[in-house]
Amino acid sequence: MKKFLFVIAMMTGIVTSSFAQVKSALLTASGLTCSMCSKSIFKSLEKVPFVASIDVDLNTSVFTIKFKEGANVDPDVLKDAVTGAGFAVATLQLIADFPDTQLAKDTHLKLGGATYHIINAEGQHVSGEKTVTVVDKNFVTTSAYKKYKKQEKMKCYETGMAGSCCGANITAGTRIYHLSL
């Protein structure tokens, strides 16, 4: 039955679930070492409407961000908060409640209101809380982006927008983030 649902999901091109929530994130900021710089990122993230609380490790520049219950989480807004403070995102890991599903490479799914494209699953079954990494441009370091770009040839990875490679069920031009499991 699960396999059948998975096939249906793949045919429709997108897996959706009403309870698919992004609960928190681990964001590593790059380009800084000083606490004044870190504080400017902290203050900028604090202003993001869907952020509930932030903890920071000043030595590693890792921000643990908890999101408001049921809120839509837009990774671009988090990234813009960091770049607005003058720095960049080195890694963004999302801790999300996944719908009970099986994930294959190029599965699309909705989490916390945003559309995601899985780039490296092998049909594994996921259910409940899982940590995934956003690997789009400006969410990883320049060197990491170059590495991912060599592996992922789809146009939507380069543009960050849904295109013909994403299937007919996703409106072209929809912002699409790419996830590594």
Binding site: T28, S30, G31, L32, T33, C34, S35, M36, S38, K39, S40, F42, K43, S44, K47, L58, N59, S61, T83, G84, A85, G86, F87, A88, A90, T141, T142, S143
Partner: protein
């Protein structure tokens, strides 16, 4: 020449021991990085200039507002106050704009470049050959800054072109004195405390060392200064700089070859 060699030796020694970490919020120069978007900075710079020719110490006060317009652009506006010609009064005003056009960020490191421009009006007497639009002359400056942060060590260099005109209120440049100059700087800094970060409330203590020079192609005259400074950052928001600037070599007639700086700067996040 001997002094320059000595100075290079001091800089090299400083760089070689600079492993523990550094900041790029230099006392006498700006890094290629900008302040956060929508934030406002208040900077109060006090300079004590040892005006040997006149046998007095001149006090200069530069209150400055700084605005992070967006992630790449910051704008400063300042008033220039001095007691060089009598009681303390406003003698000029200036604006400074910095645009960051390159930023390669990695964890705990970055390489950034920025272009900057300064325009200033000043109405005090033009007594000296040194060109300084940030405090003494009417004119402008255009330049480039490159800053490398490498696992907590920061090194920054700048190169700029400065052009002055006659000051306001009929205060003209002495005939024969240069009106154009090339400025250059090399700065580095080192984080001394805290050894390990635990909170934003810890006071940061940094030591800076900067080399500041000016060459005037019209006359071939120049100066090279060395400027060590100490910096305290309180609650990751308020900065206190204490600096000393000393000429190492030069043949320009300057207001002061020795000066002291005391600055307080406070950053207000997300206010604009």
């Amino acid at each position: 020449m001997k002094q320059i060699k000595k100075m290079i030796g001091v800089v090299c020694l400083f760089l070689s021991v600079n492993h523990a970490g550094a900041q790029e919020l230099f006392t006498y120069t700006e890094p290629a990085s900008n302040m956060p978007t929508k934030s406002l900075g208040i900077r109060l710079t006090n300079n004590l200039l040892d005006e040997k020719h006149m046998g007095k110490t001149t006090y200069q006060f530069l209150p400055e507002l700084m605005w992070g317009a967006n992630k790449n652009l910051m704008i400063h506006a300042e008033a220039i106050m001095s007691n060089s010609a009598g009681p303390m009064s406003v003698v000029g005003a200036g604006t400074y704009i910095k645009y960051r056009f390159l930023s390669n960020d990695e964890v705990h490191r970055h390489f950034r470049m920025a272009a900057f421009g300064r325009a200033a009006y000043n109405q005090s007497h033009v007594h000296y050959q040194e060109l300084e639009t940030n405090g003494m002359n009417t004119g402008g400056e255009l330049g480039l800054i490159a800053t490398q942060l490498l696992h907590k060590q920061a090194i920054s260099a700048s190169l700029s072109y400065e052009q002055i005109t006659d000051n306001g209120k009929g205060n003209t440049i002495h005939p024969g004195n240069a009106t154009r100059g090339v400025n250059y700087s090399l700065s580095t800094g080192r984080l001394i405390l805290p050894a390990k970060y635990t909170s934003y409330k810890q006071t940061n203590f940094n030591v800076m060392l900067e080399v500041l020079g000016q060459y005037q192609p019209q006359t071939g005259q120049h100066y090279v200064d060395i400027a060590p400074s100490l910096q305290f950052i309180i609650h990751s928001q308020t900065r206190i700089d204490v600096g000393f600037r000393q000429q190492m070599q030069g043949n320009l007639d300057r207001m002061a070859t020795t000066s002291f700086l005391f600055r307080v700067e406070h950053l207000l996040f997300n206010v604009l």
